[in-house]
Amino acid sequence: MTTTTGTASGPRALARQRRRASAARFWRRYRAERAGLYGLTVLALCALLALCAPLFVGADVSSVTDAPGRPMQSPSAEFPLGTDQFGRDLLGLVVWGSRVSLLVGLLAAVLSVSIGTLIGITAGHFKGWYATVMMRITDWFLVMPTLVLAIALATVMSRSLTTIVVAIGVTTWPTTARLVRAQTLAVETRPYIERAKALGGGHWHLMSRHVLPNVMPLVLAQTTLIISSAILAEATLAFLGLGDPAIVSWGGLLQDAREAGAVSAGDWWYLVPPGIAIAVVALAFTLCGRAVESVLNPRLGVSR
């Protein structure tokens, strides 16, 4: 506890001050993680590119009727990454595709982590039969092969971005749920929780005011890690032809390339750029996730 001398600070200002201090502390520690910084830089660039894409490529890059080139042209000055089977500029497509891939990755990760956190905290807090049932459901999802389940979901639902997001979201949450539950159990044994209970704190108050802030670091790290697997899962589903064929995404580009016979024809410029893009973004998120994890996880940070 800091002993601040009587400036007219209410509890609000105090909390704000403390938050600012911890954010600064977080950033200081994060900066020490070199790989995390690389990841963050790459991500920032990608995000910038995706957000600014409408300014310099525009939606008509995916138009097949006004395609500027001939089909399957190899890289040249006019088309730095060559053209696809419709004669569209691949550089533009890869840039444009980043929007969908990142969006789906983020949304799916948020959905997955939200489900996982909700189930994890409630199961850790309520215990008893509710926790047992919830954890058995979690186990069930955990043993199901994620990809197969996602394919099954994507097949029965109509083909759209929402479907892909839902398919990834509802199949990848169990690990988060388990992690969060464990952390919840640990947090709930602390004396101040008991005090809060004694002072009349209800379930909702305990979970939202005391448990959630304490599991938040874990959730944040988990989100960053899941985004990369969600991007990979999106690419995989699109590659397997389960995405919306009308939408340009990296996985969709790979699928188009495969169908057009680019693999056996050796038209590498159709396959490599989206492949590398997926790998780089997934790697960047993983690096960030690990850095965040090692900074925030109380048990990893003791020595510092």
């Binding site: 419709f86 995989t236 064929p245 009308a246 057009a260 056996s264 490599v272």
Partner: protein, 617 residues
């Protein structure tokens, strides 16, 4: 082919490395990398048997000749069973098959076929007129047996076999297809044990008794179909001992298998993509056969599915019942762009229903009848039909909702998706939305009538009767629960009258004339809009197949012929095997590169892990 190809190999290897790298980086699960480090020999197996392996993608619908309609299954039936008559591989005229001679009575209502005495079933019994008579009688009396080829016998009054070599068919009305009865004749002594023809798929006990050039010896759904040469085939034993149709659901995998020599032939069904054809043309010991196809590639419209009993079903968009709408939609389809961009020249622009390869029946619309590509005119036509644009630029249906058509497409056919993308933009300009519904199996929504438009295509026989018959009212299913021979539920009285007339017309020129009028009618109706006639683009290894018959002889296709000519005539090449080394080095390099990349990633991950582990302590 020459030595200067040597220089091309290194870049290919490098390119493969890059490809493998991307694949290894991207795909977490072992997805569709058909790299098999130990290539199996396609031919010259251990026991010295000559095996011809064909890579195919289409599933078998049924191995029962009474049910099968797909190209692969009917091609296999051509190999398993003899037909009364066949088509000459050079020019498609009728030639003897199981029948050596045929003769109509003066009134053309009684046809007498002389059945050959030198054809034996593979179990030793002689194939006789009795077998043929039983086959036809079964189709006439059992609805289940009439599923696939019922159109041929609808007009038969009586079929008898007065002697083992004499078959007599009596007709109700004259029928022009009597020398083009594409019906496999099955052995009576085997098939009379079958109880339910609508359920029996002929795929339980092997070998399957037949009298064609090959005998079916094994089948596993979506895995392989195996046939062995029939030593007693009357026209002569095939040169290859065994013929295997092996499944490659991924066309690129089939092409790699061809490069490696794992298969001898890649079926052009669907055709090789332009990129694949272009890359194979430069490869050693591989020949690409690019021939005018016998298929049409069309956009079918749901005319409001209904059954023979008058019950309507399905949920086709009501606006499509308006002919102006259908015509307007087709007028907004730029066929030239499809040929140029999607098929990249490996197709011919669509006109009438029957491809130009069948010159006698080929029809094209006159200048004033043709629905020329003209988006502005199409928009005016839609306005006139009462489908106007709303404030957002979307055309609204009579129910006040913006129109969005569901287009059924085959997920296995890249052309469907590619053309679909164009449709989305062309019709988007018109103010009409398009939802591509690409499925691996389109049969269920198709038969249920739950689509608005669909990509459609049929292989046309030298005698067009069958492809014409699938648009008659008679082909509709009996009830919504049944399956009819109909293609997309077209039922038009005028078309039906013409169909009956062409069937009864023996004069070839007059019949062709009526067929052309039918095509004209079909064109105007706008339920079947033929966009293109795709070429058959297929490839085979010349170091495994020395020669093979195309049909027609000049610029003809090999896979899916109207007969057994290609596989029966294929001659094995003497040498072989050496071809493997060159292409498999590329594969090995790719695998090594992939492993190195993965290893690198793994090491990197391990380092990261160690770093964080250190942090923990």
């Amino acid at each position: 082919m020459g030595t200067n190809d040597q220089t091309r190999k290194l870049p290919r290897g490098l390119r493969l490395v890059a490809v493998a790298g991307a694949a290894a980086l991207t795909l977490t699960a072992g997805l569709a990398t058909p790299l098999d480090p130990a290539p199996r020999q396609a031919r010259a197996a251990d026991d010295g048997k000559q095996v011809l392996t064909v890579a195919v993608a289409q599933s078998v619908d049924s191995l029962s000749p009474f049910l099968a309609v797909r190209l692969l299954s009917t091609s296999i039936h051509r190999l398993m069973y003899e037909y009364l008559t066949g088509y000459d591989p050079k020019d498609n005229h009728a030639i003897p098959g199981l029948a050596t001679r045929w003769e109509p009575s003066p009134d053309k209502l009684t046809w007498t076929y002389t059945i050959r005495s030198n054809s034996r079933w593979s179990d030793g019994e002689r194939a006789t007129a009795e077998d043929a008579a039983w086959t036809f009688n079964k189709m006439m009396t059992d609805d289940g047996a009439a599923t696939a080829n019922g159109s041929y016998v609808g007009n038969f009054r009586r079929v008898t076999a007065p002697s083992p070599t004499k078959l007599v068919i009596e007709l109700k009305k004259p029928q022009a297809t009597m020398t083009a009865l594409d019906v496999p004749i099955v052995p009576k002594h085997v098939w009379e044990k079958v109880t339910d023809f609508s359920e029996f798929n002929n795929d339980k006990s092997f070998p399957v008794v037949g009298n064609g050039p090959f005998v079916l010896t094994g089948y596993k759904a979506d895995s392989y179909v195996r046939l062995k040469a029939n030593k007693n085939f009357w026209r002569g034993t095939p040169k290859f001992d065994e013929l295997v149709f092996r499944y490659y659901k991924d066309q690129d995998a089939a092409v790699s298998a061809l490069r490696k020599g794992e298969v001898s032939f890649v079926a052009g069904s669907p055709s090789l993509t332009p990129a694949q054809a272009a890359s194979l043309e430069g490869a050693d010991d591989i020949k690409v056969n690019d021939a005018p196809g016998r298929r049409f590639y069309a956009l079918a419209t749901n005319p409001g599915a209904k059954a023979k009993n008058g019950k309507r079903f399905g949920d086709g968009h009501p606006s499509l019942l308006d002919r102006r709408v259908r015509n307007a939609l087709f007028m907004a389809v730029d066929r030239e762009a499809i040929i140029d961009k999607v098929f990249q020249g490996h197709a011919v622009e669509g006109e009438g229903y029957i491809p130009p390869r069948f010159q006698d029946y080929f029809w094209k619309p006159a200048a004033n009848q043709k629905l020329v590509y003209d988006p502005a005119k199409a928009a005016r036509l839609l306005d006139r039909a009462g489908y106007r644009k709303n404030g957002d630029g979307k055309r609204v249906g009579k129910d006040g909702k913006p129109i969005t058509y569901r287009v059924l497409c085959h997920a296995t056919d890249p052309n469907d998706k590619a053309v679909g993308k164009y449709l989305q933009e062309w019709w988007g300009e018109l103010g009409i939305g398009v939802r591509l519904n690409c499925l691996d199996n389109v049969t269920d929504p198709w038969l249920a009538g739950e689509y608005d438009l669909a990509f459609d295509g049929w292989s046309v026989n030298p005698d067009p009767d069958f492809v014409l018959s699938i648009h008659t009212c008679g082909a509709l299913p009996a009830t919504p629960q049944d399956t009819g021979a109909t293609d997309n539920f077209i039922c038009d009285r005028k078309y039906d009258e013409l169909y009956a007339r062409q069937l009864a017309e023996y004069d070839p020129a007059k019949r062709a004339d009526i067929v052309k009028r039918m095509e004209s009618r079909l064109y105007d109706l706008g339920y079947m809009n033929v966009m293109a006639y795709p070429n058959a683009v297929e490839a085979y290894r010349t170091d495994q197949i020395k020669s093979i018959t195309t049909m027609p002889a000049k610029a003809g296709n090999i896979y899916g012929q109207d007969g057994y000519w290609s596989w029966w005539s294929a001659v094995p090449a003497d040498s072989g095997g050496s071809s493997d080394s060159a292409s498999s080095t590329g594969v090995v390099v790719a695998i090594v590169a992939g492993a190195v990349l993965l290893g690198g990633l793994g090491a990197f991950a391990a380092m990261r892990r160690r770093a964080t582990a250190e942090d923990r302590e």
